[in-house]
């Protein structure tokens, strides 16, 4: 379905009637000497665009919220971090204001997560789990879910990296996708653009699939 973005007018929103909103969250923190501090912003934005285009219902894709909770990096150059209760308030406000406009389904793309992660406990931005849970309990008629793209694409990512004789590692996946999206931003290392292209593709497909399956399952409950 066509995606509504911040480039549309309010009148186009009224005509397009988005039924689901995608809220991408990133983090801004040092990623070593070879990757930009804003790596997660670039990657989750690309994944969110792909996911929005694959959803069955008309979607409102929000711009990426650029900072998460990176307390473990606080004080290191390039780190801009929120406190947990601040990110909780941000997610709460965004989701509630979307719901006030009649959008029932809200999908929080909670940064990239880890290929070793799962759909029960987030890797990074852990408060988002609590925020989403409380929003659902406290807001009648809302269905908010959270997902981390690397966690739901673990199997496919493992295959891509195994076929190149490499272990699966979040930093390697990020570097590869970035080399595909913006080659000049990867300073050094063995990241491979083709591996990155495939990784982005499977991350988008697995995330869209997880979102559709989860929303469909909630319909049955």
């Amino acid at each position: 379905m066509p995606t509504l973005t911040i480039e549309n007018t309010a009148w186009e929103f009224a005509a397009g009637r988005p039924e689901v909103a995608l809220v991408p969250l990133a983090s801004l923190e040092p990623h070593g000497p070879h990757l930009p501090a804003g790596t997660d912003i670039l990657l989750i934005s690309a994944i969110a665009r792909g996911v929005a285009g694959r959803l069955i219902k008309p979607a409102f894709l929000l711009p990426t919220w650029p900072v998460g909770t990176s307390g473990e990096h606080l004080g290191r150059p390039g780190c801009v971090s929120l406190e947990y209760d601040t990110l909780w308030a941000v997610v709460g406000d965004l989701v509630r204001s979307l719901h006030a406009h009649g959008i029932r389904d809200v999908v929080v793309l909670n940064n990239l997560g880890s290929p070793m992660g799962n759909t029960v406990r987030p890797s990074g931005n852990p408060i988002v789990k609590t925020a989403v849970r409380q929003l659902n309990y406290e807001t009648t008629g809302l269905r908010a879910i959270w997902v981390q793209p690397f966690a739901v694409s673990r199997t496919a990512l493992t295959e891509i990296f195994a076929s190149a004789g490499r272990d699966l590692d979040a930093s390697d996946v990020k570097a590869s996708i970035l080399r595909h999206l913006a080659p000049d931003l990867v300073r050094t290392g063995v990241a491979d653009a083709e591996r990155g292209r495939l990784s982005l593709e499977v991350a988008v497909a697995a995330t869209a699939d997880y979102v559709e399956r989860t929303l469909a399952a909630l319909n049955e409950i």
């Binding site: 923190e29 040092p30 290191r76 150059p77 801009v80 406009h101």
Partner: protein, 246 residues
Amino acid sequence: MLDDTATGPEIGAAAPEVAVLGIGAIEQHGRHLPVGTDFLLAIELSRHVATELDAWLLPPIPVSMSECHGPMGGTVWLKPATLAAVLRDIARSVEAQGVRLLLVLNCHGGNFILEPAIEQLNRELRWLRVVLAPEVLADLPGEPPIFETGALEVHAGEAETSAMLHYYPDLVREERHDGPITVGREFLDYTTLDRLNPEGTWGFPSRADAAKGERAARARVRACAAYARRALEAIPLVPGPAGSSA
């Protein structure tokens, strides 16, 4: 200029003295402008000002206090306390890296929490000073007037539409409805904009053009950069934290 494409070590080596934070909004802007207008203008303004100052450009905050547009589609908002907390955490993060001045460029007129939040932050922070560049919606003091209706502009009018025609001409639609609202701007403390004008404008977008937008954009970038330079000079000479460039 550093932005989020710089690595941590590159930012560490540059030890930026000034960080620039644009604040945008996502809210209805009439039939002719996209809901992301304030965010898009925050992206442009903050990048140009940070370049002028050779500063650290932080990613602009996309969403802020837009509840005053009520039920109009595509509008999302933060509560005032949330916006204040976001600003506080960002200020603490850059202070921890030795930044001396955080320049806030507000691109959404409804963010009235910023002034009190910044005043409080400056009492609490140790090394960093946070300053809000004067909000210039239309004409600049000391500059020849650019807009015919500058004093009447509140939302999606001549100045804002001109700015978009300059930076993002492809995103400006043809159908422009003027909003000649006669009550004071404080009425947004009492009601939402759709009740004052269902077309969602407050000002005269029909008078906008790209040339005015370009003149105003240049003047605004210059004014914000000059303000930051004066603020930096005015910061009392307190010793910076160990290891910082201050």
